[in-house]
């Protein structure tokens, strides 16, 4: 049995191929006790596939998956885990409390139902049928089912997809409450904001590879900038000289600058007397960020960063 300081989950050099598509490419990751890990990535990055291998739903082509020092899908592993699947829906005409009571029976040391209802903010909804719940309430019910067995590890696959801002915040409260009780959480998301808000550590997946991992600040530093776009009469090389710690690209007749401190950098540009037309400053999309992280040709520095963080 793993002791408290051994990792709960270790994924070592796992690859998985669906047909021609390489879904996972030599992935390694581990989850420590009392740790909230966010698996961050775009749709199709391999998040759900990774979780599939952890749950034993999928067999890996190569590499090794150990969960609580058992093979994935082992009953002892399942017993210490709670899972919220991305695609799951619930039978419509079952009441919340009935659904929870049923799942509670699956685990030898399940939580008292009141505690679960409290944690998942469902106390007032317990006698409602599933079909009358809102999207957020349904997600919280699925969450409640994931935590009902007093698990040491909770896996949440895209728990907040499709929720509005309020519902998402409520959900976050639930996850934080869970983490506060000492459980490890692995959640997948494609919102950096969400990963940042909840996790102790972020693992960034792109095209089946781990492209970055680290504490949120490190990842945010990499991904958390803004995109500054403008048309100008100067070349990107000139800009690069002015702003050496940024990345500069040509986008058609625009110049795009990724900046972690856009105000300072813009000031530098204006001070240098560079004229800008059609200036926009926008949040950087994760896609852009991953592009940025996974294109070592653009910046050797970023490749070095990955090495450092890993």
């Amino acid at each position: 049995m793993p002791t408290d300081n051994q990792p709960l989950v270790t994924v070592t050099n796992v690859s998985k191929q669906f047909g021609k598509e390489q879904a996972l490419n030599d992935i390694s990751l581990c989850i420590q006790p009392n740790e909230v890990v966010a698996l961050l990535g775009e749709n199709g990055a391999g998040k759900t596939t990774t979780i599939g291998t952890l749950l034993g739903q999928l067999t890996v082509d190569s590499g090794q998956v150990r969960v609580f020092d058992h093979p994935a899908g082992h009953w002892a592993a399942k017993q210490q885990m709670g899972v919220m699947l991305q695609s799951a829906a619930l039978p419509d005409n079952v009441k919340v409390i009935e659904q929870l009571r049923l799942f509670a029976s699956y685990y030898p040391n399940s939580m008292p139902l009141e505690d679960v209802l409290n944690t998942a903010l469902l106390t007032d909804l317990q006698h409602r049928k599933v079909q009358t719940l809102s999207g957020g309430q349904k997600q919280r019910l699925l969450f409640a089912m994931a935590i009902i067995g007093n698990p040491r590890l909770v896996i949440l696959d895209e728990p907040t997809v499709g929720l509005d801002a309020t519902a998402r915040r409520e959900f976050w409260r639930c996850i934080r409450a869970l983490a506060a009780q000492g459980a490890s959480v692995l959640l997948t998301t494609h919102y950096l904001e969400e990963a940042d808000a909840l996790s102790d550590r972020i693992v960034v997946l792109s095209k089946g590879q781990v492209v970055a991992q680290g504490v949120p600040e490190q990842i945010k530093a990499k991904l958390g900038g803004k995109s500054v776009r403008f048309r100008s009469n100067v070349s990107p090389e000139d800009i690069r000289k002015l702003l050496p710690d940024t990345e500069v690209h040509n986008r058609g007749d625009y110049i795009e600058v990724y900046s972690s401190a856009p105000q300072t950098h813009l000031k530098t540009l204006f001070t240098a007397g560079i004229t800008t037309h059609d200036l926009t400053v926008s949040g950087i999309s994760l896609e852009d960020a991953f592009l940025h992280l996974t294109q070592p040709t653009v910046s050797s520095e970023s490749s070095a960063n990955i090495q450092e963080i890993a």
Binding site: A76, A88, L90, S105, N109
Partner: protein, 262 residues
């Protein structure tokens, strides 16, 4: 938080899971009057029309009603089995409920066992209703042993249909499943002589009925009252066992395929 070590499920826990699964399954089903009413009412209604009115048209008192009671009991009992597995499993599969159960520590056998029990409870209600009707209005009289044997055979005779339903449920989408089940259920019921005595069929059709498990179950049920066509019981029982094994095997294959499709 969780300080206790994992431990295999005790027999009591397994029983508890089965009990709750069954309870949930039943509640779910009972809250779907669109399923409950037709599956209870159809066999009963058909029996009243064909079994009891046929009976009133002459012949030995209670004879037609007795014959039809057995065949409509089979008809009524295999319906819930096919639908509970065919349509409901397809829904659970499509909704991801099946996957959720799979990744939870519950033994998945409990899920299927609960469905079998639910289907059988429905079958039980249908069979007993037909018994009551036959006895009250069709002058059906059988020995206690015959009543019990009919009940038990038809009840456990639903197993092959659970297997067939399961295969359908795992093979087609939730939307298509009810149609596929009906496409198999209704023609099979007719061609197996569940609605109209098989003796009235041309002999080629009578021979062709051998390919339907419902025919074999009906013959077993009729053998109890001595109204079968005369083939030995073990052939019918063997055919039913074979159907069960084949469709269970096919279902296991499909079941494993489903999990790998993520």
């Amino acid at each position: 938080m969780n300080t206790s070590q994992p431990s295999p499920l005790s027999l009591f826990q397994r029983w508890d899971i089965l009990r709750l699964e069954t309870q949930t399954e039943l509640t779910k089903t009972l809250r779907t009057p669109g399923f409950v009413i037709p599956s209870l009412a159809f066999p009963v209604m058909f029996y009243v029309f064909f079994g009891l009115l046929f009976n009133a048209m002459g012949g030995q008192p209670g004879h037609g009603a007795k014959y039809m009671m057995a065949t409509y009991a089979v008809f009524g009992a295999i319906g819930p089995a096919l639908f509970s597995f065919g349509a409901d499993v397809a829904t659970d599969k499509d909704k991801g409920i099946l996957s959720l159960k799979r990744v939870s520590p519950m033994p998945i056998s409990s899920y299927f066992a609960a469905r079998i029990i639910t289907a059988m409870l429905f079958a039980l209600v249908i069979i007993l209703s037909l018994f009551a009707l036959g006895a009250a209005f069709g002058s059906v009289a059988m020995t206690r042993g015959q009543w019990i044997a009919t009940l038990i055979i038809v009840l456990f005779g639903t197993l092959p249909f659970c297997a067939i339903g399961l295969f359908i449920g795992l093979s087609v989408s939730a939307k298509a499943a009810p149609a596929v089940v009906n496409l198999i259920y209704l023609p099979m019921a007719f061609l197996s002589g569940l609605w109209v005595p098989i003796q009235l069929f041309p002999s080629t059709l009578e021979l062709a009925a051998n390919i339907f498990p419902a025919y074999h179950l009906a013959q077993l049920a009729l053998a109890i009252q001595g109204n079968d066509l005369g083939a030995p019981w073990y052939l019918h029982a063997g055919a039913l066992a074979a159907f069960t094994v084949v469709f269970l095997g096919l279902s296991v294959k499909r079941f494993n395929a489903i999990d790998n499709r993520h």
